[in-house]
């Protein structure tokens, strides 16, 4: 897959291709935007485009330096990517050379991906990155390091990374990927070229999901994913919603808590917030248009009936505050009971 094929992030892709075209590759990037919208995928493909020998950028190895690859091994870029338009060919990855194939199989020696372990990126990992960057690229043009969920770097790791981020060794690119860039220290943010990613417009989101989810559910899933196809691809949103309703029913019938983990709680509260938002939209517009749970308009209507908009907003605020407190290890059954009493009191069910 090439950069051009990333759907719905035209602005970001244009910017990256522009940097390749002009040979103005920054030494460190920060890809930021909500989760599940293609940041990491773009980063990997960017690394591929940088290293694909079929491309012709002005960065990296100088023109007069002999390539370590015999030129005829690789098909020319034109034949490799027939559908790429003329302005782009020669910049984007070809998808068929040895380098690109190694990327697919995850064995490219000049590519390194760091992700948090146990919700943290520690200083050891950053040191490892620094060490790996201190060597020249093994076979590609540049060493590329992707740090996923970069906001999970603990303070020691983030500070240790600063000097490298500002002045990395030659022929290397560092890409930080973060869905919560505001949690990164300002000193890190200031050293990176920031590339903004935004949730996909529904049309683009639909295009991504087409063929990957059952056709009859495409509409619903597109809406439920809220422009974040990554979410829809990593989990069955419809089943998740069924699970949510099952638990909501249980909660309103005063059953015992049924969450199994903290992630469960977080996801469930997310879904509840979406549902509350839908109820608000319904109360405001009086129609089923614009609902995220569009297919469940009747259900939304039934529950919204007994509530004022102000009441819904009150619950919404209480719960989003509660959700913010989750990281402090809230007691599961206390949280459950609190939520239940809040809903029962206000909803009069």
């Amino acid at each position: 897959m090439a950069l051009r094929e990333v759907i719905g992030q035209e602005r970001a892709v244009d910017m990256l291709l522009g940097a390749l075209r002009k040979g103005r590759l920054a030494s460190s990037y920060l890809f930021c935007g909500e989760s599940g919208i293609g940041k990491k995928m773009t980063a990997v493909n960017f690394a591929r485009a940088i290293n694909c020998p079929a491309t012709d950028h002005r960065h990296g190895i100088q023109d007069d330096e002999p390539s370590i690859f015999p030129a005829d091994i690789f098909p020319s870029p034109e034949s490799a990517s027939p559908n790429a338009d003329a302005g782009i060919s020669g910049l984007d990855a070809c998808d068929s050379c040895e380098s690109c194939i190694k990327f697919v199989s995850g064995t490219h020696p000049d590519f390194l991906m760091v992700s948090p372990e146990e919700r943290q990126i520690r200083i050891e990992e950053i040191r490892m990155v620094e060490e790996s960057l201190s060597f020249k690229p093994f076979e590609g043009r540049m060493k590329v390091v992707v740090v996923d969920d970069a906001e999970m770097m603990n303070p020691a790791a983030a500070n240790a990374f600063l000097k490298t981020l500002e002045e990395p060794p030659a022929a290397s690119v560092i890409i930080l990927v973060s869905s919560r860039p505001e949690l990164l220290p300002a000193t890190i943010r200031s050293r990176c070229s920031r590339i903004l990613f935004s949730p996909l417009p529904s049309e683009a989101c639909r295009r991504v999901l087409e063929g990957k989810v059952p056709d009859q559910a495409l509409d619903i899933i597109t809406r439920l994913s809220m422009g974040r196809p990554g979410l829809a691809l990593s989990a069955d949103l419809i089943a998740e919603r069924d699970w949510f309703f099952e638990l909501l029913g249980g909660m309103l019938r005063a059953e015992k808590d049924a969450w199994s983990s903290r992630d469960d709680m977080e996801r469930w509260l997310d879904l509840l917030l979406i549902f509350l938002r839908d109820m608000t939209v319904f109360r405001v517009t009086g129609s089923g248009k614009g609902l995220i749970n569009g297919d469940l308009a009747d259900e939304v209507k039934r529950l919204a009936q007994s509530l004022e908009v102000k009441g819904i907003i009150y619950i919404y605020r209480e719960l989003s505050f509660l959700k913010g407190m989750l990281m402090f290890n809230l007691n599961k059954s206390v949280t459950w009971n609190y939520t239940a009493s809040l809903l029962r009191k206000e909803m009069a069910v």
Partner: protein
């Protein structure tokens, strides 16, 4: 050679390149010229304002073969070596990676060797705030009295993490944020030399987005240059995810008019366009600030960064609302922007926050409410009267909120509930006041503090030859026996004090004492107050019984 980003390429090479830090460059230049170079400096300030650059320039200036000179020559081998980072006499240490006490011990071991080529050995410790506590302490002795050929430069973004003992051994240079004007001028000079075509408006936008940091601005400029040859303000907006003015206007208008359907439509549009919701929330705050400025100032030209057309639109919208309302909305939006920033689903958070804020559009400005009240003559201007009656009720408590938030709430006097009772009885008593006075004196002769306080709290009334003590229910039961036991001496003392004989009788008050807690509960049950509190996250600070006689239907609420 691979491409060097602008921020690195245009790193200042001498003190005169350093923008916006004139006081510091002057101190350093003079120190070098006069040969009064301190042995330890600490450079602090926000990111990207020139701390590390200054440290390197300083190192260059004092080690220059032609120098020490305030302006390093930039050609001699020492200058060249420092510029490409290969000098052996300038040691740049990453404090965050080498933060243990062992690293510092190692450094102390090396400090004593004389410089190899230059005159000084300069140790630059960047991110010094990350040193461990024992590392800092291990450094202290060396920092205070280093060998004569050593100069330390510590650089940090977090001044408060530096121990006072370190601070007192160094000359402190606080770097400031760079003004957006200075950034703009520097950007213009750089883009001219780099052959980047960029419009003046776009430069201004970049300078503002950089938020006082030169490096940030150059990073943005670099990105812009990579996807456009002729940079317009549209490009900058698209890169930074800034919103169209017209869309901002549309959302604000919907908010002020309380048009909730309009708000939802606009947010839908925003997300379809791929606007960054978080920066939109920030811009909306800025927009309301502009609205407020436009309505407060007669000639806001300088204070606002808007063109004529935009200014006219802002003015038009400001005329639709009042300053009170805008202030309220602004503070709502400031809170909302913080919520949205932390939310995992900013779009949802924005929608809910805007709808919540839209309820403020129903509020009337306090001026109108007061006019309303005076026109229709609501009896008594106590807030409770307003809160209790019909239509004005909805309007009255809410506009009060900003007033009380400013801690200008009326009635801070914290009188206990019973005191007014005693006062009113004093005023309304038939008998001469001195009888009551005498009663108080008589009670004070009683050597039983508990009993005497109970007696003083009781309401005393003079009826002919009788002094009637009205005790509240609890007291009457509890103290019945001891009162009757002391009744005789009390009567005697009273006679002595008052000069006439009075019979003391007791009665039980059947009126419940008004307690603050009860009042608070009552007030909280009042739908109007409840709504006001919920809407503004308010709380009841103080409740004052308005009048003893009207059975305290409503306490005045100070939210």
């Amino acid at each position: 050679m691979s491409y060097l980003v602008l921020a690195r390429k245009w790193r200042p090479r001498e003190f005169d390149d350093l923008v916006g830090q004139e006081p510091i460059t002057r101190i350093l230049k003079n120190a070098i010229a006069q040969g009064r170079i301190a042995h330890a400096y600490i450079f602090s300030g926000p990111r990207g304002v020139g701390k590390t650059s200054s440290a390197r320039i300083l190192a260059k200036a004092i080690n220059c073969k032609e120098g020490p000179a305030p302006v390093p020559c930039g050609r001699c081998e020492s200058c060249a070596a420092i510029a490409d980072g290969s000098s052996v006499d300038v040691i740049e240490i990453d404090g965050a990676s080498n933060n243990s006490v062992d690293d510092i011990r190692d450094l102390r071991g090396r400090v004593k060797y004389a410089p190899s080529g230059g005159k000084f050995k300069v140790y630059i410790i960047d991110e010094v705030h990350m040193l461990s506590g024992s590392a800092f302490n291990a450094l202290l002795k060396t920092l205070e009295e280093p060998p004569p050929h050593v100069i330390f430069v510590l650089a940090t973004t977090e001044m408060r993490k530096i121990p006072a003992t370190v601070l007192s051994r160094c000359q402190h240079m606080p770097f400031r944020r760079i003004s957006s004007g200075a950034i703009r001028d520097r950007l213009r000079a750089i883009s001219e030399q780099e052959g980047i075509a960029i419009s003046a408006v776009a430069l201004g936008l970049v300078a503002r987005a950089a938020d006082g940091s030169m490096r940030d601005s150059l990073t943005i400029l670099d990105q812009l240059a990579s996807f456009s040859t002729d940079i317009s303000d549209e490009d900058v907006k698209s890169l930074l995810g800034l919103t169209d003015f017209s869309l901002l206007l549309q959302v604000s208008a919907a908010l002020i008019r309380g048009d909730r359907t309009g708000i939802l439509g606009a947010v839908e549009l925003l997300s379809e366009q791929g606007t960054d919701i978080r920066s939109f929330a920030r811009e909306l705050v800025q927009f309301f600030r502009d609205l407020l400025v436009a309505s407060v100032m007669k000639d806001p030209g300088d204070a606002l960064d808007l063109n004529q057309e935009e200014l006219a639109a802002v003015r038009g919208l400001a005329a639709e609302t009042s300053e009170d309302q805008m202030t309220l909305m602004l503070s709502e939006l400031v809170n909302a922007a913080a919520d949205i920033r932390g939310s995992s689903s900013p779009r949802l958070a924005l929608e809910m926050a805007l709808i919540r804020a839209s309820f403020l559009s129903a509020l009337k400005p306090i001026r109108e409410v007061i006019e309303h009240i005076s026109r229709y003559g609501v009896e008594g201007c106590a807030p409770s009267a307003v809160a209790g009656t019909g239509e004005t009720a909805v309007e009255a408590p809410a506009p009060r909120a900003p007033v009380s938030r400013a801690r200008a709430a009326t009635g801070q006097a914290n009188r206990p509930g019973q005191q007014p009772v005693a006062q009113s009885c004093a005023a309304s008593a038939e008998g001469p006041v001195d009888v009551l006075d005498a009663w108080r004196k008589a009670v004070s002769r009683l050597e039983q503090p508990t009993l005497s306080s109970v007696l003083l709290q009781a309401k005393a009334e003079v009826k002919g030859d009788e002094l009637v003590l009205i005790l509240n229910g609890g007291h009457a039961e509890l103290f019945e026996e001891s009162i009757s036991k002391h009744l005789r001496p009390l009567e005697k003392w009273l006679q002595e004090e008052a000069g006439r004989k009075l019979k003391i009788t007791t009665a039980v008050s059947n009126k419940k004492t008004v307690r603050k807690r009860d009042l608070r509960e009552k007030a909280l049950k009042e739908p109007v107050i409840k709504e006001a509190l919920e809407l503004f996250d308010g709380r009841i600070v103080d409740i004052q019984p308005v009048d003893d006689t009207d059975n305290n239907e409503n306490g005045g609420d100070n939210v």
